[in-house]
């Protein structure tokens, strides 16, 4: 047990698997697989495993994703870290090939691969392409890949270990805004399921469902609301595909109020799916969504910070729903 950042936790899981499996590869671009944390050895996959297994080449994210897919088809475990700028450059090959090859081959294709898709850190000032948060929906709609979006270093490690061990292709979304999160994370290798939501707090007044980069603000809002006496059941979705309908439905059956929070654009944000699944199964509940408007993120911090969902927005929306 030691305090670890999100990426340290991820690389620890990867390092463990790469030591177990001498064939496993890692493809990166501009983010070298290097992480450090006080009191623990620096992890440097490139140095440890050499440039035959761990390599970067040029700016071609489609190649990166295709490379790990081809490695998987050849029987090797493989992971690629796609930088956020290129996280849609590789969309087609994941959607049309990774997602379909097992089914199209009648089960023959082997694809023990992980696409670690970095999302932007939603940094104010970066604008449009460098501060959006939208790929959760794109990747969650694909059939045949599992799509997850951990929100804590502990989940990050357990879900990366699970993703590598899973014989299915996994889109592992990494919300860059969580880069600075640090918490105690076990040193041993462990797995966290790729199909279960996490109930972060329990309560009977309202269900709040968030995921990924939005979770810190959701938890902040939860604390504020709890202090104000509201009994909040806060759920971290974690797995977008397959989605854990049971946990969601069970909660809203109890609370009859569902608030979803997304950093993704409103239209067809993961919260829409959450609401639809619940609405198909629960009657008489009330619903509300907090999400990024259907607008690209502007550079100006004044505009951007006003548009991006935060704890205050969540508190306000929860009050409207419960009040």
């Amino acid at each position: 047990m030691a305090r670890k950042s999100f990426m340290y936790a991820v690389l620890e899981a990867v390092q463990h698997e790469m030591r177990q499996d001498k064939d496993m590869i890692w493809i990166f671009e501009l983010t070298p697989p290097v992480a450090s944390t006080p009191g623990k050895p620096v992890i440097n996959l490139e140095k440890e495993f050499g440039r035959k297994r761990v390599v970067n080449t040029g700016i071609d994210e489609n190649w990166m994703a295709s490379c790990v897919l081809g490695a998987g088809l050849a029987g090797s475990k493989a992971v690629t870290y796609i930088p956020y700028q290129g996280n849609c450059m590789c969309f087609q090959v994941i959607q049309n090939h990774a997602g379909k090859l097992r089914h199209m081959s009648g089960g023959g294709a082997s694809m023990p691969v992980v696409f670690l898709l970095e999302m932007t850190g939603q940094t104010p000032g970066f604008a449009g392409q460098h501060s959006d948060y939208e790929i959760d929906t794109y990747y969650a709609h694909i059939a045949g890949v599992k799509t997850v979006v951990p929100s804590t270093p502990t989940d990050a490690k357990g879900m990366m270990a699970a993703a590598i061990q899973d014989p299915n292709p996994v889109c592992y979304l990494y919300a860059g805004g969580l880069r600075e999160l640090i918490e105690e994370v076990p040193d041993n290798q462990y797995t966290t399921p790729l199909d279960k939501a996490a109930v972060r707090t329990t309560g009977g007044d309202i269900t709040i469902v968030g995921s990924g980069g939005g979770m810190p603000e959701v938890l902040k809002a939860t604390a504020v609301l709890q202090k104000q006496g509201m009994k909040v059941e806060t759920i971290d979705l974690r797995c977008l595909k397959p989605m854990d309908t049971e946990t969601l439905v069970k909660s809203v059956r109890k609370t009859k109020r569902l608030l979803t929070v997304d950093q993704s654009y409103y239209t067809l944000c993961p919260g829409a799916e959450v609401i639809a699944r619940v609405a198909e199964n629960v009657t008489g509940a009330r619903y509300k969504r907090v999400a990024f408007p259907d607008a690209p993120p502007p550079a100006s911090p004044e505009m951007f910070l006003w548009m991006r969902p935060n704890a205050e927005h969540v508190v306000g929306a929860a009050r409207k729903l419960v009040g």
Binding site: A71, S76, V93, N96
Partner: protein
């Protein structure tokens, strides 16, 4: 065969493959010199001398097997064409390969197609996969059943023609998209290099693949990392109904190899032995860690892009206007000219010239191939249909996804 690259080096043929070469070479020279082979030379494409003419050093049974594979492809396809245009119950749609058989067979003859999966060379194929699949070793019966979407088909009826695959012989499979497969194939090559395996990764693709962004991604990264990767570009002059000059500014697509500093070869795609020579050189290079090769095989398809418009039962090739072509179409004279350099004829006549077999033996092989193909489609017709609910399986390795169509 034009070498656009100077990295080409004569390499000694593998031991188990070198046999009888001396006598064949001598005969070849005699025949050519005496004009004895005049009646067949017009159908024979001659190598650049004897250097690097690996095919000539192959044992007779291997050469015979190459001819056998060519005619098995030919008759599988012809039987399928006939079925498509005569049997209204046939449900398959197909992209036919006849005319190009020498490419698939010449390349796959240079690969390792048997053994445990982690020793097999891998082949990535296209929307026109029959030839590649058969040359790599897929079973005709199971293929025919798959083309008719039967539960016992090669892929349980999930694939159809455009996505057949067979891991047991390293046939990673067909892919309906143009471009992505090439890049994915470099990933297998990367895995081979990473784990120190001697396997090679081969992708087939048409002239249509040149214009895709993927062409650059595949070759550039394969070159940078010196991957054991072979890009076999079957230039049959057309992608759908457009001549390749619509999408490619140069005559020989293989010349693009130069930019990447890799070996690029243009080869006569109608002559299986020329193709074999180029493929063997490329495979040796890849196994030796010397990087990728781009092989452009000049070839032609006797049928139209898709299905069998213009084909007649029992007759090879399709002629006349294809209603799908709409605004452009290839000239019939062009089809006939290419058919005059038929890969079956060239292979048969070469092997007769080399004294590997006589015409009677060749005819017997072809008759057996025809019979096998007919039986395969007959077998397929008797196979069970798929169970509807199995469509929910094989999405993930485990279990099945829920039905959602009923609300």
């Amino acid at each position: 065969m034009t070498q656009t690259q100077s990295t080409e080096a004569a390499r000694a043929p593998a031991k188990n493959d070198s046999i009888h070469s001396e006598s064949r070479r001598t005969f070849m020279k005699l025949a050519a010199g005496a004009g004895a082979a005049v009646s067949v030379t017009s159908k024979l494409a001659w190598a650049n001398g004897e250097i690097g003419f690996w095919a000539k050093d192959l044992p007779s049974d291997k050469l015979t097997e190459m001819f056998n594979t060519i005619v098995r492809i030919r008759w599988y396809e012809r039987t399928c064409v006939d079925k498509m245009i005569t049997d209204p119950k046939y449900r398959g749609y197909n992209h036919f390969y006849p005319g190009q058989e020498a490419v698939a067979v010449g390349v796959c003859a240079a690969l390792n197609n048997k053994g445990p999966f982690n020793e097999l060379d891998l082949v990535y194929s296209t929307h026109r996969p029959s030839g590649h699949a058969i040359a790599k070793g897929a079973d005709l019966k199971k293929m025919a059943a798959e083309y008719e979407f039967r539960a016992t088909g090669l892929n349980g009826g999930y694939a159809g023609e455009m996505h057949i695959s067979d891991k047991s012989c390293g046939f990673i499979g067909a892919d309906g998209m143009i471009g992505p497969g090439h890049v994915i194939a470099t990933g297998s090559a990367f895995a081979f290099r990473a784990r120190g395996s001697k396997q090679v990764s081969v992708v087939f693709g048409g002239d249509g693949t040149y214009a895709t962004p993927h062409f650059h991604g595949a070759l550039n990264n394969a070159a940078l990392l010196q991957l054991p990767f072979i890009y076999v570009l079957e230039n049959n002059l057309y992608h759908q109904y457009a001549h390749y000059s619509y999408s490619c500014p140069m005559k020989d697509i293989a010349s693009a190899a130069k930019t990447y500093g890799i070996a690029g070869v243009v080869v006569d795609g109608q002559d299986v032995f020329q193709v074999y020579n180029a493929a063997k050189t490329a495979v040796d290079r890849a196994r030796a860690g010397e990087g990728p090769t781009l092989i452009e095989a000049k070839t032609y398809r006797y049928y139209n892009h898709w299905g069998a418009p213009g084909a007649k039962p029992g007759q090879l090739g399709a002629f006349g206007y294809d209603p799908l072509a709409i605004s452009s179409f290839r000239p019939e004279r062009e089809v006939r000219a290419w058919m005059a350099r038929d890969p079956v004829d060239i292979c048969r006549d070469t092997l007769i010239t080399w004294g590997v077999f006589d015409r009677a033996k060749a005819d017997a092989i072809e008759a057996a191939a025809k019979k096998e193909a007919i039986e395969a489609f007959e077998w397929a017709d008797k196979q069970p249909f798929c169970k509807p609910e199995d469509g929910l399986k094989n999405v993930f390795v485990e279990g099945a996804v829920p039905a959602r169509q009923f609300g």
